[in-house]
Amino acid sequence: MHNQEIQAAYGYLPKDVLDKMCEKTGMFPTQVMGVATFYSQFRLEPTGEHVIKICFGTACHVNGAEKVADALADELKVEFGGTTKDGKFTLETVACLGCCSLAPVIMIDEEAYGRLTPDSARKIIRDYYETGRA
């Protein structure tokens, strides 16, 4: 799968790069797009500066992940899967981050934040803006 390498290089799968790959390898665009849209990891759009992953695993779900997610969507004024207008944050939900004992958990870029409440989740975002990280 070359898609993984392309995404590692560009952060997403740009259409012109996929076209080029088809040209060079003789693969059909349908094959490439079939794979690109099958796996949730692949993106066809670039992301914001920071990517927030909200864990929707079972442990997080029973510990109130949905409320945390709603608070974040409200704070950032963005839908799940979307990027904020200022291009700073992309808000995503993921099946499970595997840090179940810290539920509910979100991950911003590579850093995990656990035992969240709607309130503490909002504070994390405000903190990013206040400290100039976003």
Partner: protein, 592 residues
């Protein structure tokens, strides 16, 4: 080597998420300025995730103490009192060799075979693994046993597939061994996709060599010289440590060409998944490694006859492989002495949800669920009554309180309607709505359905629609019966395990909590007060002192009232986020 203090920080994903790297930084800074020589090291998951960050201090005489909830500001005192004065700080110790702590019962009922080295070695050090018997079993197998003898030993151990289905591992190897062909493959299924399960991640992060060695033994047994580990891309630390382990083993002649100077060759490659739950199904997984969409196909032919690139292939899960070297090294008898008649050995569980002591536990088969949840797990985290435990993730089911004496073995768990599964165990208390839990799992399976077969693709969609209807107060008479009918059809007709087991969360909650479904339909009420469209937040006038905390925290300005007077919530504006209830210090806000 000079005897010295050893400080070890638990840096599995959980430990890192809890702030382990900052603790490590503080310890390293302190190490540099302390007059006594102290060695600092890291290890994988120690199991007590609920006490992360965990730091172990080993005295020069070998006595060991594990500290829980360590933060960077606790490091000074640890160095001053424990290392400086030789006095362990007893109130912070969660496990000490000569101390009794309130946490001892977490370990009392556990038996560690799979996790034998997890939390004890630095997973990035081959020497530490070898010092604890790594790669002895592969040496024993290739030098003193025939492939058939290896298979016999695994068969005699009674080991069954730990991915969830429980097929006897030795039998699987026997089929692959009997398949004709000079090229065969071993695959390790590390696509741990069940939400709420982290056993395999912890094993890979804590002791990657156990998995590699198990794969090598399987390769020798079936006659394969090449292997893949299909790992979730969401597990970057596990992948990184696997790569380090493979490289180190190759450099030492333990892996690659002429293993240990014999004519056995074995190469292991890592293939990263790309986020598709269905790829945990073996035929879908194979298709994904081949670079295609990860869609399952009809079996037979089974992978043992025609698998990866059309060659005979043996697939086992991470935990299964992690058991193998122990069995070969110590003999089947050392393994099958644990367990019940048909389920031998131990099982690792990821204990999470509303549990006081969540973490990674390994227990002998045959232990009662009650012992896991109360003795090891310490009961519910909220202190509220236990309601159910969910086993087997999206393919499993909820086991209610009155069945807590069920023992952990494949057949007993199946009888409840749940499945053993890969080891996720999510505890729920009375605040969790069972209809909502069923909806949660169906939304997961529906979005992860690959779309190939109609029963799964459309059936799970219809079931999700009904469940969504119920949780939003639009349930209709006959919905329960419709759910049952759909479940039956999907179970019998879906192509792969994902579809066939997708109705389980609905069927078990219907079986044990039917009254909750009925309340959602008939009374438009959610007995657990979880489903937002069916509840209302109200302020109790006699308890509200008018502190205004709630109105300030409300994101939609639905709360009004003058200071020092009882406040009111405008239900038409309220989004039921619960922020007010959480903020109120006078228990003046209730859910109706």
């Amino acid at each position: 080597m000079e005897k010295q203090y050893k400080v070890i920080v638990g840096l599995g994903s959980c430990g890192i998420a809890a702030g382990g790297l900052k603790v490590m930084e503080a310890i390293k800074a302190k190490q540099a300025t302390t007059p006594v020589t102290v060695s600092v090291d890291e290890t994988g998951c120690m199991g007590m995730c609920y006490k992360e960050v965990l730091v172990e201090i080993v005295n020069p005489d070998g006595k060991s103490y594990i500290y829980g909830n360590v933060t960077p500001d606790k490091v000074d005192r640890l160095f001053a009192e424990h290392i400086g004065n030789g006095q362990p700080i007893t109130e912070w110790v969660v496990q000490g060799c000569d101390l009794k702590t309130s946490e001892d019962s977490f370990f009392d009922k556990q038996e560690r075979i799979v996790l034998r080295r997890c939390g004890k070695i630095n997973p990035e050090s081959l020497d530490e693994a070898i010092a604890m018997d790594a790669y002895k079993a592969i040496g024993k197998a290739i030098k003193t046993m025939t492939p058939e003898q290896v298979i016999e030993e695994v068969l005699a151990s009674g080991l069954r597939g730990r991915g969830g289905a429980g097929f006897p591992t030795g039998m699987k190897w026997k089929f692959a061994n009997a398949s004709k062909g000079s090229k065969k493959y071993i695959i390790c299924n590390a696509d741990e996709g069940d939400p709420g399960a982290f056993m395999d991640r912890s094993v890979l992060e804590g002791d990657p060599h156990a998995v590699l060695e198990g794969m090598m033994i399987a390769g020798y047994a079936i006659g394969a010289d090449e292997a893949y580990i299909y790992a979730r891309a969401e597990y970057p630390i596990a992948i990184k440590r696997l790569k380090i382990a493979i490289k180190a083993a190759e450099e030492r002649g333990l892996l690659g060409k002429n293993v240990l100077g014999t004519n056995f060759n074995f190469k292991i490659k890592i293939k990263e998944g790309a986020g598709a739950f269905v790829c945990g199904e073996e035929t879908a997984l194979i298709s994904s490694i081949e670079g295609k969409r990860g869609m399952p196909r009809i079996r037979p032919p089974f992978p043992a006859q025609s698998g990866l690139f059309g060659k005979p292939t043996n697939i086992n899960n991470v935990e299964t492989f992690a058991n193998v070297a122990y069995i070969i090294l110590n003999g089947a008898g050392s393994y099958n002495k644990y367990g019940t008649e048909k389920s031998k050995g131990t099982k690792v569980f990821a204990l999470a949800g509303k549990i006081a002591r969540g973490g990674l536990v390994e227990v002998p088969m045959g232990i009662a669920l009650r012992d896991i949840i109360y003795e090891i797990g310490g009961g519910t985290s909220s202190g509220k009554p236990f309601k159910a435990v969910q086993m087997g993730g999206p393919s499993g089911g909820c086991i209610p309180a009155h069945l807590l004496d069920t023992i952990v073995d494949y057949d007993s768990v199946n009888q409840t309607g749940a499945i053993m599964g890969s080891g996720g165990m999510i505890v729920m208390d009375e605040d969790n709505c069972m209809v909502d839990i069923a909806r949660y799992f169906l939304s997961f399976t529906q979005s992860e359905s690959c779309g190939k077969c109609t029963f799964c693709k459309i059936g799970t969609n219809r079931m999700l629609e009904i469940l969504t209807r119920l949780t939003t107060g639009e349930g209709r008479e006959g919905d329960i019966e419709l759910l049952e009918e759909l479940s039956d059809q999907i179970r019998r007709n879906a192509l792969c395990g994902l579809g066939q087991t997708a109705p389980n969360p609905v069927l078990t909650t219907l079986k044990y909590f039917r009254h909750e479904y009925e309340a959602h339909i008939k009374d438009k009420k959610c007995p657990a007060k979880q489903c937002r469209p069916l509840i209302k937040y109200v302020i109790l006038e006699d308890k509200c002192i008018g502190c205004t905390a709630c109105s300030r925290v409300c994101p939609v300005k639905a709360i009004s009232g003058e200071p020092k007077k009882a406040h009111k919530i405008d239900s038409s504006l309220c989004t039921k986020c619960g922020a007010c209830k959480e903020k109120c210090r006078f228990s003046a806000i209730e859910i109706d």
